[in-house]
Point group: C2
Amino acid sequence: MFNATTFADDLATAPVVPASACANSNAREPRPAQHCASCSMRSACMPQTLSDQELSRFDSIVSATRLIKRGDALYRANDTFQSIYAIRSGSFKTVVMHRDGREQVTGFHLAGEVLGLDGVCTEHHSSDAIAIEDSSVCIIPYALLESMCAESKRLQQQVLRMMSGEIVRESSLMMLLGTMSAEQRVAAFLLNMSSRMKARGYSAAEFNLRMTREEMGNFLGMKLETVSRMFSKFQRDGLVQSHGKRIRIVDLDELSRV
Amino acid sequence: MFNATTFADDLATAPVVPASACANSNAREPRPAQHCASCSMRSACMPQTLSDQELSRFDSIVSATRLIKRGDALYRANDTFQSIYAIRSGSFKTVVMHRDGREQVTGFHLAGEVLGLDGVCTEHHSSDAIAIEDSSVCIIPYALLESMCAESKRLQQQVLRMMSGEIVRESSLMMLLGTMSAEQRVAAFLLNMSSRMKARGYSAAEFNLRMTREEMGNFLGMKLETVSRMFSKFQRDGLVQSHGKRIRIVDLDELSRV
DNA sequence: CGCAAGGTTGACTAGTCTCAATCCTTGTGG
DNA sequence: CCACAAGGATTGAGACTAGTCAACCTTGCG
């Protein structure tokens, strides 16, 4: 049923608009920015509401892109905050750490999403952002963004909305962590990933998870073994087929009802 | 050991700067605003970084105050978003609700804190804000705030910082919900309340909790019985003395180490 | 004074974690 | 190209934390 040939599977659910920003390079240092106007992630990304004029102004403050290898950090907790980052391709996890070493994954972030807003408050980041696959980001220097916000009402609104959206997103995660059973959390996670993949032009029913069971478990407030058991249970019940990181949602309605 | 006379206890830990905004009224509808310059919460509140000139301009957009009785809602999920609110006196809980009726308390909010930023994103609130004691708030119309942000860089920064702070606060709650035992959660909660009381001029060691065990449990992702057991355990271990809502922290260091 | 709401405690249960064995997948070097 | 190592995933058995249900106590208010 599941063909394990990753490449073929990837083709089967290729994005409508493939993000191929970093096609021919392996440099890890900042490099010239591409232009938002021609970016494949534009519709999902930050400047979506801007006029053409504002867009080109915005373009000019996006100073560079940066490539991040799988496992490397885009920034770390306590780094001084200078920029926010729009994910151009790939994906990240954000992790907060307690002094005693406990870690909590606070989110998984896909192309088009913005990282780093946690730093505005104290001018230091409060979390690590780690690439969970080779990724690229656009660097948006915060001081310039702030200045431009004073000029462009639309941009200001966009930034405020983005922040508020982050607050709302985190509230619903608190709901998940505070009130749901392990089974419900995993179901909610799969549904969430599904709708985000769909929003990016991938199949809502079949996709690759980029994170390990351990990272998922850490995010969902449970152990990796429990995540694995829930996947097995969903498979037994005919809701989902899973083979490692490859996921196919078979009965989306039933999964929503868990 | 614990004297149950609430009034006397309240005196024992009276705030250095009592917030007496709603002294002589019981009206529930909007009423003329007081002035920020003379407000007892000013140092803890939103316009803390503004110049005198900016402050008076800010004052002019704070249209009114409103009294909210214990148990009443300041706003509810799906209400259209028009204003944010600075708590002048009293305290609130914010609650998000799932379609199936599950509720999660996402925060307790004390005087000087700002409520309602969840609404910026969709122009509808995503949570309920319920007064957990008789309270009063200043109403800050968001459209006016937004306009003023375009003029005052300092205000813009303040608003962005506030939002970012909310994001960071919620991340640390996710950590609490995702990685801590019931005992650790209750300890962290007490320490958090303690430092917030202290920041408001109350005693850090002895204070009244305004919420019920059920509300605490809902916030901390556990049942009220478990909260109660943890209080009893801390009392047995000599870390905390509790008598209903009255709390005295006996061994703050040890409580931090839990 | 009596009632309702809130709080405490106990006994039992369910759900998740822990530890451990095993399997599968992927990448690497001979 | 194959063998092997290492990381990741799955599964099982037993332990333990927190939930459930129920009884009872305390406090504040009409």
